[in-house]
């Protein structure tokens, strides 16, 4: 599997999922369980990705400058600082800690 295969397969899957929704009768959304599972699925995947991006190192775990940087990001998101500024602050935190 090359990077291009991965990109095209994943893109077709994501685009397909959007289009499938236009073929489904709206009555499905009135049932609470599929809607709840879908919303929680998004939450779980994002949280899992945060964990792996913060302390994962290949197939292993490493506690480094990424963890305090994530902490800074959490504080700034809580203070409703715009997304792009939070990312810059998180990156700067990690970069500074690595310089020390």
């Amino acid at each position: 599997m090359t990077v291009w295969h991965i990109i095209l397969l994943a893109s077709i899957a994501v685009l397909g999922l959007k289009l499938v929704g236009y073929l489904v009768p709206p009555s499905l959304i009135e049932k609470p369980t599929p809607a709840r599972v879908t919303n929680l699925l998004t939450v779980a995947l994002l949280a899992g990705l945060i964990a792996v991006q913060t302390i994962g190192a290949g197939q292993g775990i490493a506690i480094d400058a990424r963890l305090p940087a994530l902490g800074v990001a959490a504080v700034l998101f809580a203070l409703r600082v715009p997304f792009i500024l939070v990312l810059i602050a998180a990156a700067a935190t990690a970069a500074l800690l690595r310089m020390l």
Binding site: M1, V3, W4, H5, I6, I7, L8, L9, A10, S11, I12, A13, V14, L15, L17, K18, L19, G21, Y22, V24, I29, T33, R36, V37, T38, N39, L40, L41, T42, V43, A44, L45, L46, A47, G48, L49, I50, A51, V52, Q53, T54, G56, G58, Q59, I61, A65, A69, L70, A73, F77, F83, I84, L87, A90, A91, T93, A94, A95, L96, R98
Partner: protein, 244 residues
């Protein structure tokens, strides 16, 4: 057309109804703010090992921020060997777009060409702005304007970010790896308003971290998604909190 009808028509052009002005205002502010994230996606994608073309194709074809960040996150950690996990993560994060499509389908209306185009730009933001409007016309304006603006803006800023990332070179020196985690946190943050999603988020993070040393890159995140399925199906911690 009578003169009174013509007058009403002129008034409509000069001053749109307040509902429609609200829709336009919401679309503009959301569209411009969200487009700016494209810079971070472009830079992080190049940092994860994709080239500028691959990065731009993702924003054009996939066009769903969460799925795009997930794909490059898993590829960055595991390389092409993690391809199947990367595709699965992106697709699972894209499932919510199906739900959005069901919700905005009556707003978009009939016509298959229009619905395919609408499907392409059915994302968090276009759905949120559309469904927040009170009249059908305002909902339509909100959907198409938000989706269209973000599509153009996101793709332009992706290219800009990718070119910038290409120039930066060594990414950990600039803390871009930390910015990737922060990007996911930014997508997650607005969803953490009730106890149930907070518990799911913590549970999934713990599962993913605990499994990382034991499973190939990308797989721990997929296993962590099971937390959502279990809590969602049983509605553990659900009803009581959502009423409060």
């Amino acid at each position: 057309m009578s003169s009174s009808e013509r007058a009403a028509d002129a008034a409509r052009v000069a001053g749109r109804p307040p509902e429609e002005r609200n829709a336009i205002r919401a679309a503009l502010s959301v569209g411009i703010a969200v487009s700016a994230y494209g810079i971070s996606f472009g830079a992080l994608s190049v940092a994860a090992g994709l080239d500028v073309w691959q990065t731009c194709v993702l924003s054009l074809l996939m066009f769903s921020g969460g799925s795009q960040f997930a794909l490059i996150g898993v590829l960055g950690a595991g390389g092409t060997g993690a391809g199947p996990s990367a595709i699965a993560s992106a697709a699972l994060l894209g499932v919510r777009n199906s739900l959005y499509a069901i919700r905005v389908s009556p707003i978009v209306g009939p016509g298959w060409a229009k619905r395919i185009l609408a499907g392409w730009i059915t994302i968090d933001e276009s759905t949120a702005v559309a469904t927040a409007q009170t009249t059908l016309r305002a909902q339509r304006i909100g959907f198409w304007l938000t989706g269209g603006l973000i599509f153009v803006g996101w793709n332009l800023t992706t290219l800009l970010g990718a070119l910038l990332g290409d120039l930066l070179g060594d990414v950990s020196r600039f803390g871009l790896d930390a910015a990737a985690a922060a990007a996911f946190l930014g997508l997650l943050w607005p969803r953490l308003k009730q106890l149930q999603p907070i518990v799911v988020a913590v549970g999934a993070a713990v599962v993913a971290a605990a499994l990382t040393p034991w499973l190939p890159p990308g797989v721990p995140v997929l296993v962590a998604a099971l937390v959502a399925v279990v809590v969602g199906l049983t509605n553990w911690l659900g009803e009581k909190e959502t009423r409060g």
